[in-house]
Symmetry: C2
Subunit: 306 residues, 2 copies
């Protein structure tokens, strides 16, 4: 990789429940290598002739202040404890500086630096994946809060009584309804509650992707599931707007790909529920970044600050 000589690089890592992805990123945001194998190898592969300045990590329940990953239900190695991830990784890499934040914050930085939120100083990133994550940007800066854990909007309440149980131990969380898993749950509940014909009756172990495919085929039940999901999201967005008055809500993650079915009910519920000063003012935009890149780019953007 002769052309990389003398260039500076950072490494971005996206820690996930299933796999972790990492990439070596240059100053323009080009991801030069991306793989799920060990960090050292990847650095050698892609950046060996440049200089790697630091490593940024996005991880569920990652804490920017302490570098810890704490009580992350989807990570077996940190489900019930706090792990000093940044410190451990830095040691393994011979002291290379490591910066860590939660995965949604990393994605927010990615969108702000390279994606749909370029030029925005106030926006809320909502990641609709296995769970619902969030990264809040105010005045151009990610909100970390007093303890580094700010931005857990997936665990705000949408159903006060008899709500669904959430992975976090609470009930009625936004995440329990509007994540990929939540959409699949809605499908299973609704199929059981009625005899309405639906393509989904033929599917075993329904996923949100199945619901999307059925909606594309014109399946009425599947389309209503997205209306329901979008309405819950839009209502809650109205609450979020009352907090930080963002320019836009930026959506990202697997479920955001169903935007053709989510967008209208989401916009309607949001505008029906915001104060008059915000009616038809706040945009909902979808991530423009390749999904596998966004979190890596965001994490790498953290590393440039090191």
């Amino acid at each position: 990789m002769e052309e990389n000589k003398g260039k500076q690089f950072v490494v971005g890592i996206d820690v996930g429940g299933q796999t972790s992805k990492l990439g070596v990123v240059d100053a323009r945001g080009d991801v030069l290598a991306q793989t799920v194998i060990a960090v050292k190898t990847v650095i050698k592969e892609a950046g060996k002739e440049g200089e790697v300045r630091g490593v940024g990590v996005g991880a569920p329940n990652g804490n920017y202040y302490t570098g810890e990953v704490a009580f992350a239900p989807n990570l077996a190695w940190a489900a019930n404890k706090s792990v000093k991830f940044a410190e451990m990784l830095s040691k393994k890499l011979g002291g290379l500086p490591v910066s860590l934040t939660n995965d949604a914050n990393a994605a927010a930085v990615g969108e702000m630096t390279y994606g749909a939120a370029r030029g925005m100083k106030n926006f809320i990133m909502i990641t609709l994946g296995t769970g619902v994550g969030s990264g809040i940007v105010i005045d151009g800066k990610v909100v970390y809060g007093h303890d580094g854990f700010a931005g857990e909007l997936g665990h705000t309440t949408v159903v006060q009584h008899n709500g669904r149980t959430c992975g976090c131990g609470r009930t009625g969380c936004l995440e329990a309804y509007c994540s990929a898993i939540g959409v699949a749950k809605t499908a299973r509940e609704w199929l059981e509650m009625s005899n309405e014909p639906s393509l989904l009756r033929e599917v075993e172990n329904i996923t949100s992707k199945d619901v999307y495919e059925a909606a594309k085929e014109g399946d009425a039940l599947a389309i209503r599931i997205f209306e329901y999901t979008g309405t819950i999201l839009g209502r809650k967005f109205a609450d979020f707007i009352a907090f930080s008055a963002p320019e836009a809500i930026v959506l990202f993650g697997g479920l955001a790909r169903s935007k053709e079915f989510l967008y209208e009910p989401m916009m309607k519920a949001m505008n029906d529920n915001v104060l008059n000063i915000w009616k038809d003012k706040v945009k909902i935009v979808f991530s423009q970044l390749k999904e596998s890149d966004a979190a890596i780019l965001g994490a790498s953007a953290l590393a440039w600050e090191l």
Copy 2:
């Protein structure tokens, strides 16, 4: 006022639905004069031998960026329109610089500079008065958002269906339940719904103060009204904490004086509803400032920045 010679002063104004209060404030936060009459007269009275550097105004729906007061339901002169208040006042004062924000933001600045939030960089101020206002401080700065209207937490939803009508035109707002007016409404509703004996049955035109007095006399219904109000507040605080992970929620305003009845149910509901990472971590503190001073002090703190 010979001792004021050569000192610098600012003016803080708290614009309210009933009256507006203003004071001339020195650098230590001493309110040298406070009255509801015209600005020029007050400046002459208190600061004529010092130098008045600027005027800060806290007003409902006041916009920090534009200096406008916009669509404030409780202000007859700005209920249905946007008024360029800062510009108009500055002209009347011969060009003296004027800075304006909403009244709850002003109170938050007051608490941070002189009150219960001294030393805090991340907190949420909730004003429990005629309405429910809020001022959000992140990293030591008031959050204004993209348009200057951030921090309208009184108009987040606590009852999704068949909620009470709110002054803002929405239904189910926090303000419709947990303001002084909301508490009085709860009392009237509950008295009508049962035959339970209560001291409140003897009161005409019940106010939140009557409910407080009855609770102090040991009236069971009145005490339950505060439990209900505190529980709604505590639950919603859990949502707010998931947003900005504050060190504390700071309460202020007439209703906050009922803290002996509100505190426990509020703390319980908050800790029952936050994520594990925040359980028993976030404080609820009450303003230590004289109520009539806090908003003036906050508004005046804005003026020092001019």
